[in-house]
């Protein structure tokens, strides 16, 4: 039994009367053989789904974030000048975008557990490596690169000739940095909102909380209090107020968001209509069923048996 555990992807041990040797050598262990069904069809399937969505989003958001510097290189003499404030770069992956994707990776469900057990064929994408393979990886990367192009060139096109309503030009480096950074955080937050299929209270808290944290930290770091303590570190004084108080900047951010997100929405909708997967059909049927059952008094629980 040791060799079979070593050869397989996952080792499962049953803890029983013979002792716990198999349990010690395995990745998962439980007490009854019948639990294997739930392990594979519910937990294993969800785990695969969550992992694939997590990975795709992670590559996407980091490519969207980093490739902006590649495009900016053509316009800054390839001097490795960062587009964003250094603190934004530090906090982007730690604070602004980490928790929503973590919540998705922990809680996401495409189909509730009863349906997963009813339709074992849902297990097939995992066996066939359908949700994350080379093709899906390149699609995630391509989406990240496309987003970075939009996030750089839309502010470039707008701000290069824009001025504030009092005539002061908006083409300075700090305004450009704040505009691009804000657009980036909003776009990737909308994207994780699209990717999350199962919105628990925790998901809501993390997604809206991350956005709120971004604006809070932005205004705090660009305030005069921190500048007076550390002038060299917080030299973006006044940028947030000056930039985000201009209607042109918000119009730019809205434009960039729609250009980034609308193709994704359209593509996913068309895919749902033209080539629905089994999980899409089961999920849709489940939700239609829930809506029909709601008047019968089953309120409050988003997940329920059919």
């Amino acid at each position: 039994c040791f060799s079979s555990s070593a050869a397989a992807h996952i080792g499962v041990g049953i803890s029983g009367q013979e002792g716990i040797q198999a349990v010690l050598a395995s990745d998962y262990s439980f007490s009854q053989f019948r639990f294997l069904q739930r392990l594979l069809l519910v937990h294993g399937r969800w785990s695969y789904l969550r992992m694939c969505r997590f990975l795709c989003y992670f590559f996407y958001k980091n490519f969207a974030f980093t490739m902006v510097h590649f495009w900016f290189g053509f316009f800054c003499g390839f001097s490795a000048q960062t587009v964003y404030d250094q603190y934004f770069i530090t906090l982007y992956n730690i604070v602004y975008t980490s928790l929503p994707v973590l919540a998705m990776g922990l809680f996401d469900q495409d189909v509730p557990e009863q349906r997963s057990l009813e339709y074992p064929k849902l297990y097939e994408p995992g066996q066939l490596n359908l949700l994350f393979n080379k093709r899906e990886f390149f699609i995630c990367i391509a989406q990240g690169i496309y987003t970075s192009v939009v996030l750089f060139f839309i502010p470039y096109g707008v701000l290069s000739h824009a001025t504030q309503s009092n005539g002061v030009p908006l083409a300075d480096y700090q305004t450009f940095a704040v505009t691009t950074a804000t657009a980036l955080v909003i776009v990737v937050s909308v994207q994780i909102a699209l990717d999350t299929g199962y919105w628990t209270a925790i998901n809501h808290f993390f997604i809206w909380g991350s956005l709120g944290t971004y604006f809070t930290i932005l205004f705090a770091m660009h305030s005069s209090i921190l500048f007076n303590i550390f002038p060299k570190q917080f030299h973006f004084l006044g940028s947030a107020h000056n930039t985000l108080g201009q209607p042109v900047v918000w119009l730019t951010i809205a434009l960039a968001t729609v250009i980034c997100i609308a193709p994704v929405l359209a593509f996913r909708f068309l895919k749902l209509d033209l080539k629905p997967q089994l999980s899409d059909t089961v999920r849709y049927t489940q939700l239609v069923l829930q809506k029909k059952q709601k008047p019968c008094g089953r309120v409050g629980r988003g997940v329920g048996g059919g």
Partner: protein, 358 residues
């Protein structure tokens, strides 16, 4: 192979204890641990997506039309005065021997240039966004911290000390490369020149002027003495404390032109606000007629193939002339409307074909 072990049923106490042990080893049965938290499960349904795309498309079309029309009403006049061509008025100023050279650019306006008119200078092929250039300044000096006057930070190298090792204030490449062309604008009325008043107050950011940059405190009542033991940047004609001797609120590091220059541009082509035309006879704008712009040409740009220009512009609620935003909104709006129609067609075909199959 299962080892057979005989297990008797046990006494009632044994069974109860066994049940209690099992109960304590059972995993939690809360909604969180059983992954049954109440949740909203959105579905990309046609009832939301297609009208959503249509609404966004129409909204963007509306905004795009407003932006485009507003942008069309803004007047802009740009003139390149670098003097590259032999017949341009400032050509004689491009040879390096003429250090302080004056040239005159004439232009005429056919209609009233509605006020308030904003006067910008523009540079191209000028990389203020270069990384080493951008870090080359001493933020502590610029907050008036005299401790750093005598010992500028290392990032200012090679603009931190002059050849005799005196510290430079303000140090760094950004300050050292400050734009020093000056302009005077005259309207030509019946052959005589009438000066157009230019207003240089408040052209920089409020936070720059009031918080970020601070002058050092005067020493023995003299502002210039605060700069004792330091020298001016090598390329500057006057020291920092002489930038505007007529107005102490515009002198030293609080000089508006200095602040405008220190706010470095993001892109290699940029404009910076020089003055506003808001006073006197020209408060409502520049009337139609002939004008003459006198340029005190100090700033050399031809060595790196740069260009200099002046720009006159007026503004609206959305700022200066910006065709890009209006056109982008129109394009995206129409694409969204087209997409919503396409999706409606696909959805209708799919739905009806599905009904036919069923």
């Amino acid at each position: 192979m299962r080892k057979s072990s005989c297990r008797r049923g046990g006494t009632p106490e044994d069974i109860r204890m066994k049940n209690e042990e099992e109960a304590s080893e059972r995993p939690d049965n809360t909604a969180f641990t059983q992954q049954q938290l109440p949740a909203w499960q959105p579905v990309l349904s046609a009832g939301i997506i297609i009208p959503g795309f249509l609404i966004i498309g129409l909204a963007f079309l509306g905004i795009g039309i407003a932006l485009f029309l507003t942008s069309q009403t803004i007047q802009v006049l740009e003139m390149d005065y670098t003097g590259v061509e032999k017949d341009s008025p400032c050509f004689r100023c491009t040879s390096p021997s003429n250090q302080t050279c004056t040239c005159e650019v004439t232009f005429s306006l056919s209609t009233l240039f509605t006020g308030p008119v904003f006067f910008y200078y523009g540079l191209s092929n000028y990389f203020q966004n270069f990384r080493k250039y951008g870090v080359s300044k001493d933020d502590y000096q610029l907050t008036g911290d005299t401790q750093y006057f005598k010992s500028p930070r290392d990032v200012c190298f090679p603009y931190a000390h002059d050849s005799k090792n005196n510290p430079i204030v303000p140090c760094g490449a950004i300050a050292s490369s400050m734009f020093n062309d000056t302009f005077e604008l005259y309207q030509i009325i019946n052959g005589t020149k009438k000066k157009v008043p230019l207003d240089g107050k408040g052209i920089s950011w409020w936070t720059d002027y009031n918080i970020k940059y601070r002058n050092p405190l005067p020493v023995n009542g003299s502002f210039a003495s605060a700069f004792d033991g330091t020298v001016k940047p090598i390329n500057w004609p006057k020291a920092a404390y002489e930038l505007d001797l007529t107005d102490p609120n515009n002198n030293g590091f609080l000089n508006q032109d200095f602040l405008v220059w220190m706010r470095r541009a993001a892109l290699p082509q940029f404009r910076k606000l020089y003055r506003r035309i808001t006073e006197g006879d020209y408060a409502t704008g520049l009337p139609a007629g002939n004008y003459s712009l006198t340029v005190y040409y100090n700033y050399p740009v031809l060595s790196f193939d740069g260009r200099k220009k002046v720009v006159f512009s007026n503004v609206s609620w959305m700022g200066g002339k910006n065709d890009f935003l209006g056109i982008a909104y129109l394009v995206v709006g129409s694409l969204c409307v087209v997409m919503s129609v396409v999706m409606l067609i696909v959805y209708a075909k799919f739905k009806f074909s599905d009904d036919d199959d069923a």
